[in-house]
């Protein structure tokens, strides 16, 4: 029982980061109908800035805002430089464009910064735990879960209660009709990328802290987890993205603890196996959105 509870908290912590990443991917997918394979660069770019900042005497208190702001700006810049040029193109073109952005950014760091692993110091409290009864809970997990809950509540408020949120949802539901209402396409698309970048920035703070390093390909894993979580939850559903992230995190942690010692390294393989099974029974994901034909 204690072990299960311990794993649940561990899995929720991991899943919270995935949920933030997935929500960012889902927000952009909603508006552009593009799975953004460059989403991980919103962690790579701030990751290198973090490395630079620590070498110049910054501390986590100043690095955290740096990560979030640079993720938002990177997201806006990538939209401006790459995605704005393929608006309205086929889904495949947009997919390839996002792959292209990913490869260009990681090649840029490889060529002009370094191929080697750049270390980033973890905050002092990172390894702390608190004991509740027989449970040993990592402070890091608690912080991640708490911050994610607040960010998700804020995002929900933004989407439900503000005109920007309503515009975003309307444009995701039917872009042309949203324009007919007077929603400005540029603003709503940029807004979506800014929100996506902000969510990636929060996730990035935790991701960078946990990894304690940055490499040119640092974006691949967070991107993969975000995209997978979106697919698990149901493409096109924001709630699904969050749910998918939490499920993915829990599945990873629980599998790792349940699998026999010898095959623990195959956790990722088993996760993919479970995803494959899910898609056989629910091809649209957990909260699949019915595909309404656009007339």
């Amino acid at each position: 029982m204690t072990g299960l509870l311990q794993n649940l908290i561990d899995g929720l912590g991991r899943g919270s980061i995935y949920a933030l990443l997935a929500l960012g991917v889902a927000v952009v997918f909603g508006i552009m109908h593009m799975l953004n394979f460059a989403h991980g660069e919103l962690i790579t770019i701030p990751g290198y800035l973090t490395y630079w900042a620590f070498n110049n005497g910054w501390t986590w208190w100043t690095v955290i805002p740096l990560i979030i702001i640079s993720a938002v700006l990177s997201s806006l810049l990538i939209e401006r430089v790459a995605f704005s040029r393929v608006r309205g193109a086929t889904d495949f073109t947009m997919l390839l464009t996002s792959f292209g952005v990913h490869f260009i950014v990681s090649a840029g760091f490889l060529l002009y910064v370094s191929a080697s692993v750049k270390p980033i110091p973890r905050p002092g409290w990172f390894a702390n735990t608190v004991s509740v009864g027989s449970l040993n809970i990592e402070v890091f997990d608690l912080v991640v879960i708490g911050v994610t809950a607040v960010v998700l509540a804020g995002t929900t408020w933004l989407l439900q209660r503000t005109m920007f949120g309503l515009s975003l949802r309307a444009a995701a539901s039917d872009f042309d009709t949203a324009r007919l209402m007077g929603v400005k396409s540029d603003s709503v698309i940029r807004g979506a990328f800014a929100l996506s970048g902000f969510l990636a920035g929060i996730a990035g703070v935790f991701w960078i802290m946990r990894e304690g390093q940055v490499t040119p390909t640092a974006g691949i894993n967070p991107m993969l987890q975000g995209v997978l979580a979106v697919l698990i939850g149901g493409l096109g559903s924001l709630r699904g993205a969050v749910l998918g992230g939490l499920v993915l995190g829990l599945a990873e942690v629980l599998l790792r603890s349940w699998l026999p010692l010898g095959i623990q390294n195959l956790t990722t393989g088993f996760v993919f196996l479970m995803i494959a099974l899910l898609f056989i029974f629910r091809p649209g994901g957990l909260l699949s959105v019915p595909q309404v034909e656009r007339v």
Partner: protein, 233 residues
């Protein structure tokens, strides 16, 4: 108030609209009729800024709005109730209306929401319901109310009675009458040609992308050469 001159719009090599002209004066109810594929929806889409225009000009309230972005056109006071209603199904009735008023200030939006709930009692009852659960008639009322939320000087409606039961079609025409009595200017594309001609001050007949006749409703109803247009739509 609204002047369209020599408008040509193409889909690829095919002209969906050829050299079409029309004018709408303040307070008028104008019908736009013609068989399927005559270019009626294309004409409204071009005026609303959704479709690229090949040649011709559109001016509204003295300003040139040819090829302006849809949001600019809405802001200038021209709004469209699109074909098939196109309400935002996963948003509530209230949210649909709020989005309709995205171009006006929050201070104006509040009173206008109350006005809409009074003008459309059906919607008031379903205020917090996801719009996807509305019946066809309710959804049409929502689509019209949503278009009114931008405080338009001219409302364009594309086939508002399409797919509705006869009693609901009556409702739509009653609504057009109500809006006319409020002094609103309305341009309606309608398949129900005879009925539209009776309700409209003037009408334009489109066929194969061209305006082939214009006049008051009564004049057009007399024209036996247009008979196929009236029954064919």
């Amino acid at each position: 108030m609204l002047e369209v001159k020599g408008l040509t719009t193409k889909y690829g090599a095919i002209s969906a609209l050829r050299d079409a002209s029309l004018s709408v004066g303040e307070g008028e109810v104008i019908g736009l009729i013609g068989p399927n594929g005559a270019g009626k929806t294309t004409l409204l889409g071009s005026i609303a800024g959704l479709l690229p225009i090949d040649s011709g000009t559109i001016s509204f309230d003295g300003a040139d709005i040819t090829s302006a972005a849809p949001d600019k056109i809405v802001r200038s006071g021209l709004s469209l109730v699109p074909e098939h209603r196109r309400i935002f199904a996963d948003m509530t009735v209230e949210e649909n209306l709020k989005i309709g008023g995205v171009t006006i200030s929050a201070a104006e939006r509040g009173p206008l929401l109350i006005e809409m709930s009074e003008l459309f009692p059906v919607l008031q009852k379903k205020w917090s319901t996801a719009a996807g659960y509305l019946s066809g008639g309710e959804a049409q009322q929502l689509a019209i109310a949503r278009a009114l939320m931008s405080k338009p000087k001219v409302v364009m409606m594309d086939e508002p009675s399409l797919g509705l039961a006869p009693i609901l079609v009556d409702q739509v025409f009653d609504l057009i009458e109500t809006l006319r009595s409020q002094g609103r200017t309305i341009l309606v594309v309608e398949q129900n040609a005879t009925r539209m001609l009776k309700a409209a001050d003037r009408a334009y007949v489109l066929r194969s992308g061209e305006v082939v006749a214009t006049g008051t409703g009564e004049e057009l109803l007399e024209r036996s050469d247009l008979f196929d247009t009236f029954v064919g739509g």
